[in-house]
Amino acid sequence: MNRESAVYLDSFRLAQYSVQVPCYICSQGNNWDAELCRHCFAPMALAHQATAKRSPPHMIATIGASGAGKTVYLGMLMDMLSRQPDCLQILTRGGFSVNIQHTTIAALARREFPSKTPNEPDRWNWVHCQVGSGKRRRAAELIMPDMAGESLLEEVDHPHTYQVVRSFLSRCAGVLVLIDPTKVRAGNHDQDYFTVKLLSYLMELDADPKRGWPSRPIALVFSKADQCEECFFDPAGFAQTHTVGLWRHCQERFRRHRFFAAGMAGACAYRDVAGVGRVRVPLRVEPRGIVEPFHWLVQQVVG
C-alpha cells in the first residue's frame, strides 16, 4: 500500500545556494553554509562576520621561517592583550579565534611549546578580533592567521601553491616578520636568506610605491631574544651586525619598517620525546617585548 507524504520545497534554501558568498581572503564564491572556503580553505566565518561590520577588517600577517616562533608569539600576544588591557585591548570574535590562544597557553603551562603548525591551510588557526585602546574611540577589526612556515616557503619558492598565502599577503595591511636570532648569532644565514625571500615575495605581490609594500608597515621581530639577550638592547644594531643582507634590503625597499626583539621563555632546556626526538622546552614563561611590535604595527595600520 502506498502512503502519501508531503515534501515541501525549501525554495529559500535553494535561493541561498544559488547566491555565492565570496571568501573574505580570496574573494572566490562559496556556498552560504560552507565552513571553509573551497578555494583557499580560510574560514567562511570571516566573510560572514566581515559583512556584518560597517568597516572592513584589517589583515595582519605573521610570517617567518618554520620554527621562528609564530604560533607562540601570536598565542601569547592574544592572551596577554586579553588579560591585561592597559595599552591595547583585544576581544576575539568567534570561537575559532580563541583556539590559538588556548592551545599555546595550555602548552606553555605544561612547560612545552605548542606543536608545529600543520601545512594544510584547513588546519591553521585564524584570529578575528577587535582591537582598541583607551585613546582610540572606535575599535578596529583585525584578522590574523597563524600560517605554517613551510607553506610560506613553498609558496615563495613555487608561487600559487598556496592560494591562501598569496591572497592574504596581497591584501594584508602590514606584516610581523619573525626571525630566530639564536640561529643568526650562531652564524647560520638561513634566517637572513629566508626573510629576504619573504620580503622580496611581498614586493612581487604589490610593488606600488604608494599603496604597495614599499609603503606598508613591516615589523621585524627577533623572536627568541630571551636566548640572545643582546637583541633586547639594540634590535636594529643586532640586525645591522648579524643580518646585513636583510638590513640593507629593508633600508632600500621599505619605508616603514622597524626592528624589535621579543622573548617568551626565561630559560630553555631539552627533552627527549619518543618518536619525535629532542625538543626544546621552556623552563619558565616570562614574556618580554611581545606587545611592542604589534602595538607599533596597529598604530601604523589603523592610525
Partner: protein, 412 residues
C-alpha cells in the same frame, strides 16, 4: 695671578697649560734669536713644565676619577658616613655583622658592638626552625594522577633542614654598592676559583666592575631600595661571603616559604604560597599584578610570611646553592636553581613555593637577585651539637662562650 688669568682666558686647565707651553716655546725661539743667554733657559723651563702639566691633565681626563674614590663617595652619601678606620665599625656600617657574630670573633668585640651587631642581625634575618620539607612535588601532579599521594617517597624528596637564618628581604642596590665600593670585585679570596678568569667580565654598562645594569659603578638614582638584579650566581655567592653569609639551599628556601607542618607518619603539609593556599595577586609583584618592573623590597607587605620574610614570591627570582636537575630534562649547560618568581612571571603555577627553575650560573638576568642565608650552626661554638641532633625545638640563639647579654643574644 698670571696662571689664573691664562686659565680664565683659556676656560680650561688643559688649554691653559697648552697655551703656557706654547708661549714658553715661543720664548725660547725669540730669546735664541735675540741672543739672550738667560731668556731661552727660563722659557724652556716654563715650556717643559707646562707641557708636562698638560699631559698629566689629559691623562686624568681620559681615565676619569678612580672607581674606588667615586663609589666610596657614593657609599658615603647613601650610607650616611665614610670609612672610620675602625674595622669593626666599618663592618657594622657595611652590614657585615654576621661575620662579627662568629664565635671566633665575638669575644673581641665590646659590649656595645655586640649589642649593635646582634640587633642588626635580628632585624635583618629571620629564624627558620629545623624540620623536614618535601621537595619536587606540585599540586598539578597530584591532580592529574602523575604521582601517588599515598606514597610519600613517590611524591618527592623529603629533606631534613637544620635551623638557619634567612634574610627578610632580597639584597638591595644600596647594600650591594658597599660591596662594590669595598673592592669586592678585586678580592679574589671571596670568589670561587673556577670563575677567577671571568671576574673581569662582570662589568656594568660603562665597563666598570658591578652588576650588569649599573652605570659608572653605581645604580640609577631612585633605585636604592630596589632588589639588586643583573648579577651572576658567582657574584651572588661572592657577595654573600663578603657579608659573612651564604646563599640558601633550595630546600632551605622552600622550607622558609612554605612553612611545612609536620604530621605524624605523613609527609609535611606545605603551603603553595607564603600567605596560604590561593594566589592573591595583590600580595606579590608578578606579571599583570604590578608595574611591570622591580619595586622596593619593602613593598607588597601583604605577601609576608609568618616569620616576616618579604617578597619570597614575586619581584625577583633568587639564586640558590643547588644545581638544577630535573628528571627527563637535558640541560644545554649546567644550571643553578632559582626560586621565587619575578615581576614578569606569567603563570601563577610558576610563582608557587614549590616551583623551581634553572639558570646558567654566569648569566646576569634582569630579574634574578640575591637573598642570603646563614646556618644557625655558624653561630655555635665548634664543639656544640646541632639542634637537629638534639631534636630540640628552635629557641633563642645563644652565642658561644660569651656572657649572657640580656636582650642582644636573642635573634628570634
Amino acid at each position: 695671578v698670571l696662571w689664573n688669568l691664562v686659565k680664565h682666558l683659556a676656560r680650561s686647565k688643559q688649554l691653559a697649560a697648552l697655551a703656557a707651553a706654547a708661549a714658553g716655546l715661543a720664548g725660547v725661539v725669540l730669546g735664541w734669536m735675540a741672543g739672550s743667554a738667560w731668556l731661552p733657559f727660563v722659557c724652556g723651563v716654563i715650556a717643559l713644565s707646562s707641557g708636562g702639566f698638560f699631559l698629566g691633565l689629559r691623562r686624568a681626563a681620559r681615565n676619569g676619577p678612580s672607581l674606588r674614590s667615586e663609589v666610596a663617595a657614593a657609599v658615603a652619601v647613601t650610607a650616611g658616613g665614610a670609612e672610620t678606620g675602625d674595622l669593626v665599625e666599618d663592618m657594622l656600617r657595611d652590614g657585615r655583622h654576621a661575620l662579627l657574630l662568629r664565635p671566633q670573633i665575638l669575644s673581641h668585640l665590646t659590649a656595645d658592638q655586640r649589642r649593635r651587631a646582634t640587633e642588626a642581625q635580628a632585624a635583618e634575618m629571620a629564624t627558620v626552625p629545623a624540620g623536614e620539607v618535601l621537595l619536587g612535588v606540585a599540586g598539578e601532579d597530584l591532580d592529574e594522577g602523575r604521582d601517588d599521594p599515598n606514597d610519600p617517597a613517590a611524591r618527592g624528596a623529603l629533606v631534613e633542614v637544620d635551623e638557619f637564618y634567612l634574610d627578610r628581604r632580597p639584597v638591595t642596590n644600596r647594600e650591594y654598592l658597599r660591596f662594590v665600593a669595598a673592592g669586592g670585585y678585586e678580592q679574589m679570596a671571596i670568589w670561587d676559583p673556577q670563575i677567577w678568569p671571568a671576574v673581569a667580565d662582570f662589568v656594568d654598562r660603562s665597563g666598570k666592575p658591578g652588576p650588569r645594569f649599573w652605570k659608572n659603578g653605581c645604580y640609577e638614582s631612585g633605585q636604592d631600595d630596589h632588589p639588586l638584579v643583573g648579577v651572576s650566581w658567582y657574584e651572588a655567592a661572592a657577595y654573600a661571603r663578603w657579608v659573612g653569609k651564604r646563599l640558601p639551599t633550595s630546600a632551605e628556601w622552600e622550607k622558609a616559604a612554605s612553612s611545612p607542618v609536620q604530621l605524624p607518619d605523613a609527609a609535611p603539609l606545605q603551603r603553595r604560597f607564603p600567605w596560604g593556599e590561593s594566589m592573591q595577586r595583590s600580595r606579590a609583584n608578578l606579571w599583570g599584578a604590578g608595574p611591570g618592573r622591580t619595586v622596593p623590597v619593602d613593598d607588597y607587605r601583604e605577601g609576608t610570611n609568618a616569620s616576616d620574610i618579604r617578597q619570597l614570591i614575586g619581584n625577583v627570582w633568587e639564586w640558590t646553592l643547588d644545581d638544577f636537575r630535573e628528571p627527563g630534562l637535558v640541560l644545554p649547560a649546567p644550571m643553578k636553581v632559582i626560586r621565587g618568581a619575578a615581576y614578569d612571571t606569567y603563570f601563577e603555577s610558576q610563582a608557587t613555593c614549590q616551583f623551581a627553575s634553572g639558570e646558567v650560573p654566569v648569566s646576569r638576568k634582569h630579574n634574578i637577585g640575591i637573598r642570603c642565608a646563614l646556618g644557625a650552626c655558624d653561630f655555635r661554638p665548634p664543639s656544640a651539637p646541632s639542634r637537629t641532633e638534639e631534636h630540640a625545638a628552635p629557641a633563642e640563639l645563644v652565642l658561644a662562650d660569651e656572657p649572657a647579654l640580656d636582650s642582644e643574644v636573642a635573634l628570634a
